[in-house]
Symmetry: C2
Subunit: 571 residues, 2 copies
C-alpha cells in the first residue's frame, strides 16, 4: 500500500470523495467466495479502493459485463515465446494475462546474469507485472555443457534484485534428494520464499525427500494421480498447457472427477511459442478449456488468479477487492472467456503497442553461437548388430521412451530411414567441438535436416535429419545467422528464422516470427514430421537430461531414470 | 528446513535408512486434499520426513487411530487466561493446541515492552509454538489512560524480535480509515507481513478503507453476513469462541448453509479463561462444535490448522507432510475430537508439566496497581430528570446496547436497583485520581461490589456494585493485593483472586486459579449476576472503547459509534 496516497484513497473508499475512476455496472467475480456480484469498482491510482456502489470523477459503464481478476501465468520461460518480452506482451496482454512469473533459465544457460538481466530490463516498462524466479539449475545437471554456470554464490548477489520472487524450478532433483552441498546452499538462500519444483514422474520416497527440501510447486504433472500425490505433500500444482507440454486435459478431468479442492492448483504455459499464443490464446485458453471440461468457472478463474498470487505471496494481485492492484479483465461471456477489455493498474492495455528498443548490433547477446569446425564424418554413428538405444518420441509429450532397436545400416553405419532419424547435439558456446549423436524414432523427417540453437537447457545446437550433409549444412546456417531455426534440404536452407538474441529469441515483431514459424512448421510437416510432434519444440527438449526417459547431450546419450550416461557405443 | 540435517533426513524419507521415529498404522488426515488415508508417519528430529510406509529405529503403533495436524489458536491474548503461559499450556496442549498466535496487548497497556517481553521469555521453553503479533493500539484509542504507550518508534525496535510475526489487531479503525500518520507508520512497518484486524460491525465503505490499508484478518464477526462481507474483501475470518465472545455457532451455521469455501476461515479463542479451557477444552472444542453444527470434519480440522498456518505464513506448520513440523494429534474418534495423544516436534507432550520459574517478589511486573486516594463520594452519579445514557449488557456478547433510561434516584443521585448497577473505572497506573462513573443495566448484582484490574485494554480498575461503600472497599482490596478480582459484600471481601503479574495474571498453577475462579463465579451468581453474563469477563470489556456501542473510561462515557465522549452529565 502506498501510505502517502492512502488518506485520499480511503476517502474515496468511504464514498466521501469521488474516486478517480469508477467502473460502473459490472458483474464482478469474487474469487474469495466464488460469487458473481453486481457492482461498481472504484479505482484510485493503480489500486482498487472499493467494490460496491461508487461515484467517480471518470466513469466507465461496463453495461453488466463480467469482470474477473487479471490472469497470472504461474510459470513460463519468456525465451520460449521466441520474441522479446514487449512483443510477447503485445499478444498476451490482450488475452488477459497481466502477471507473468518467469524463470529466465534459458538466458542464464547461454549468458548467466547478463542474459537474465536482459529480461529484467526489458520488462520494466510494460503493461503487466513480470516477476522472476532465479534459475536454480544452470546448467540443469553437472553433466551438461552450457554457456554459463549460475552458482549459489552468484545467486546470492541477485536474490534481492528487483522483481525477484524466489528460486526457479529445481530440475536437478538428484542433487536435491542426495543433499548436494551447492544445491543445499541455493535452497537455504531462499528459505521462506517461493521455491519452484520440476519433478516429472517423481513419486514415493524420492518425492517426499524433494518436498522435504522445501520445494513448493510442480508444473510437470502428466497424470492426475501424479498431481494428487504431489498435492498430498502440500505442493502447489501448476497445470501446464504449453506448445509441447499439454497436461490440462488430463489434470482438469481428474480434478473434476475427484472434486478435489482446487485452491492448490494454478495454470501455466511453461514453454509456449508466440505462434500458439496468437492462434489459441494464453491463460484465457487454459480457463476456456478447463470450463469446457466441466470445471466450475469460479474455480477456473481462481486457478488463473488468486491461487497463483497466494502461492507466490503476491498479496496485491489476483482479486478485485480493496487494496488489490486494478488488474482485471472485462468479459462478454464468462464461460467462453470472451474478452472485451483488459485493465492493468486501472488502464486499458488491450491495445498496447510495443516500442521495444532494438538491441545494439554489437551487443554480446547477439553473438553467442560459437561452433568448432566439423569434419564430414562428425555425425557418423555405428549400428550395433544386437540393437541399440534409441530415443522414442511420444506425440503430445515432452517425455521420451527409452527404446532398444536394431537400426537400418550400411557398412556398419546407421542410415536413417523407416521412421528413424539421426539426432546430433553440437556444443555451441565455447567451440569445444563436442558432438553427441543418437538415433531417434518417429520424428519422421525425410530429405533434409532441421536445426535449432534453442535446446533446453544448455542451448547447444540440435540438429535432426536423414542425411549427414544436410545436417552439417544446417549447423553452418545457424552459425552464420547467430542462432535460430533452420530447415535444410539437398544442401540448401529452405527457410531460416534468426533468433539473434542469445540464439533464443527474435528481435522482430511477432507478426514476422509468427509468419516465418508458420511457414517453417508447414514445411516440416511436408518433409514428414507428423502431427503431435512440434518440429522445433519437441526437438528442443531432446537434450534436456531432467525429463524422462532418455536424452542426448554433447557428451553422449543419457539415461534420465538411472541419471547416468549410457556407455558410449564404439565407432 | 535444517539443511545440515537434510541429507540424513532425506535418506530416511527415501526409505534408504530407518527414520528416527515412525508412527505406524495411522488414519491420517490430509488437509490439502481433505482425504483420510492409512499410513505411517516418519519423523526425524522435529520434522515429518515422509508419510506412507516406513520403518523406524523407534516405532509407535497408532493402531488405526486418526491423526490430524496440531491445532492453532489463530488469535489469543495469553493474559486473558489469567495464568502464566506455562500453566496455560499445561491445560491447552493436552487439548491438541500446539501453536498460539498471541497478541500481548494487555501486558503492553500495563507496562509496554517490558510487559510483552515477559510473555516472550516465558514461552521460550514450552512444548508448543508461540508466536507474537506486536500490539498496534496501545492505548486502544487516544482517549484512554493506559499504563504505557507503544509507539511506532518503539515498535520499529522490536518488529524483528524472536517469534514476532506481524502487527497485532488494529482496533483503532478510526485512525486507520482517516489515515492518522502514526497508524500509517505502524502499518507501513509491517508491509508484506501479517496484519491483524479487529473490526466489529464495520461495513461498506469504512470496511473497504480498512481492508485497503492492508489489514488481513478479523476475529470480531458476530453474524455470518458480517463474515461474508469481510471475506469478499479478502479478509481471513477467525471464528471466535472465547469465554465471553462466542461467535462460532452463528458463523459456522452460516458457513454450512451457504457452502462458502472455508479456506479463508480459522478458529480462535481471543479471550478465554483457564476455567473455561479446563472445563470444555480449547481449539478442540471449536472443532467439535463446528462438526456438530454440520461442518465436514476435514474442513473443521483445516480451520484449526493449515488455513491458519497459511494465513500467517507459517510454512512449516498446519499439515502432516514432508517438511512440516511433527505437531500432530492422535484421536480415538474424528468427529468427537477424542484426543489420545498430542505430539509436538515428534514428542508426546500431553503429559507435560510446567515448571514455571516464579517471578521475583521485587519484579516491577508485580507492582503495577497505583490508585490515588478516593473520597467517599467519588462514585456519586447524578440522576437526570429526563433519563440518561445507560450501558446495556447483552447476554453472550461483548457488544453493549446504548440505552436511554430514567434511573432510580434519591436526592437527585442515582441509586442502583431494579436491574441497574453502578459501574466505575478508576485509573490505576499513575494514581491520577481519574474516575469514570456510569449506570449499567442487567448486570444484576445485589448487596455488594465486584472489581477487577483486568479491564481491556488499558486495564484500569473496574468496579460494579449496588452501593458505593462496597465499591470503595473493593478498590482498596485490589490495591492491597496488587491487582486481581475481588467480590465484596457489606464492606468485607468475600473472595479475592490476586493477579499479581501486571494485575492481569496469577502466578499460581491453574488448579488454584480455577478453583478460586469457580468459587467466585458461583458467588457472583448467588449475588444476582445472571447466566449469560460472565461476572468478570463481561465486566472487563466495559472500558474498551473500540467495541460497540457504549463504554466507560476514566474520562467518562464513550459513544463508540460516534467515536466521541458523551457530554459529561452535570453533578
Amino acid at each position: 500500500m502506498n501510505y502517502q496516497a492512502y488518506p485520499a484513497w480511503a476517502r474515496a473508499a468511504r464514498g466521501e470523495e469521488a474516486a478517480e475512476t469508477v467502473f460502473k455496472n459490472g458483474r464482478i467475480l469474487n474469487v474469495f467466495t466464488g460469487e458473481v456480484l453486481p457492482g461498481d469498482i472504484a479505482v484510485c491510482g493503480d489500486t482498487v479502493v472499493g467494490v460496491g456502489r461508487y461515484q467517480g470523477k471518470r466513469e466507465i459503464d461496463l453495461g453488466g459485463q463480467f469482470v474477473v481478476p487479471g490472469f497470472i501465468d504461474a510459470h513460463l520461460h519468456l525465451e520460449s515465446t521466441m520474441v522479446t518480452p514487449p512483443f510477447l506482451l503485445e499478444s498476451s496482454v490482450p488475452c488477459g494475462t497481466t502477471t507473468y512469473i518467469a524463470d529466465p533459465h534459458e538466458a542464464a544457460n547461454v549468458m548467466g546474469w547478463e542474459g537474465i538481466r536482459y529480461f529484467v530490463d526489458s520488462t520494466r516498462k510494460v503493461p503487466a507485472n513480470v516477476y522472476f524466479m532465479l534459475p536454480s539449475c544452470v546448467p540443469a545437471t553437472p553433466f551438461e555443457m552450457s554457456g554459463c554456470t549460475f552458482s549459489a554464490a552468484e545467486m546470492d548477489k541477485y536474490k534481492d534484485y528487483e522483481r525477484v520472487l524466489g528460486l526457479g524450478e529445481v530440475m536437478d532433483y538428484v542433487s536435491v534428494v542426495t543433499g548436494e552441498p551447492e544445491m543445499m546452499d541455493k535452497l537455504a538462500q531462499f528459505e521462506g520464499r517461493p521455491r519452484d519444483g520440476h519433478a516429472p514422474g517423481l513419486s514415493g520416497g524420492d518425492l517426499s525427500a524433494y518436498a522435504l527440501a522445501g520445494i513448493h510447486t510442480d508444473h510437470e504433472c502428466m497424470t492426475f494421480e501424479d498431481a494428487l500425490e504431489k498435492r498430498r505433500m502440500g505442493m502447489h500444482i501448476h497445470v501446464r498447457e504449453g506448445s509441447a507440454g499439454k497436461n490440462l486435459e488430463a489434470l482438469v478431468a481428474g480434478i473434476v472427477e475427484s472434486g478435489v479442492d482446487t485452491a492448490g492448483f494454478s495454470f501455466c504455459t511453461d514453454d509456449a511459442h508466440i505462434e500458439d499464443i496468437r492462434r489459441q490464446g494464453h491463460i484465457d485458453h487454459c480457463i476456456r478449456r478447463a470450463i469446457a471440461l466441466g470445471l466450475a468457472p469460479a474455480k477456473a478463474y481462481a486457478m488463473a488468479s488468486i491461487n497463483t498470487a497466494q502461492c507466490y505471496g503476491l498479496r496485491h494481485l489476483g482479486a478485485i477487492a480493496p487494496g488489490y492492484q486494478a488488474d482485471f479483465v472485462v468479459l462478454r461471456d464468462l464461460r467462453r472467456v470472451d474478452i472485451a477489455v483488459v485493465y492493468h493498474k486501472g488502464k486499458d492495455v488491450a491495445g498496447w503497442s510495443a516500442a521495444a528498443p532494438p538491441l545494439a548490433p554489437d551487443s554480446p547477446l547477439r553473438h553467442t553461437v560459437h561452433v568448432a569446425p566439423l569434419a564430414p564424418e562428425a555425425f557418423r554413428l555405428k549400428a550395433m548388430e544386437g540393437g541399440q538405444d534409441v530415443i522414442g518420441l511420444i506425440a503430445g509429450q515432452l517425455a521420451t521412451e527409452h527404446l532398444t532397436r536394431k537400426l537400418p545400416a550400411q557398412n556398419g553405419w546407421f542410415v536413417p530411414c523407416d521412421g528413424f532419424n539421426k539426432l546430433a547435439v553440437v556444443e555451441r558456446h565455447h567451440a569445444t567441438g563436442a558432438v553427441g549423436v543418437a538415433p531417434i524414432m518417429d520424428y519422421g523427417l525425410r530429405d533434409g535436416a532441421i536445426a535449432t540453437t534453442v535446446s533446453h537447457d544448455s542451448h547447444n545446437l540440435l540438429v535432426a535429419g536423414d542425411n549427414d550433409a544436410d545436417m552439417l549444412a544446417a549447423v553452418a546456417e545457424l552459425a552464420r545467422v547467430g542462432g535460430g531455426y533452420t530447415i535444410v534440404s539437398h544442401g540448401e536452407p529452405l527457410a531460416t528464422l534468426p533468433l539473434s538474441v542469445l540464439g533464443l529469441v527474435s528481435d522482430q515483431p511477432y507478426e514476422e516470427v509468427e509468419q516465418k514459424l508458420h511457414h517453417m512448421i508447414s514445411l516440416a510437416r511436408k518433409m514428414g514430421v507428423p502431427e503431435g510432434i512440434e518440429p522445433f519444440i519437441t526437438l528442443s527438449f531432446l537434450a534436456l537430461p531432467v525429463i524422462p526417459a532418455i536424452r542426448l547431450t554433447p557428451r553422449g546419450l543419457f539415461d534420465v531414470e538411472k541419471f547416468a550416461f549410457i556407455a558410449s557405443q564404439p565407432e
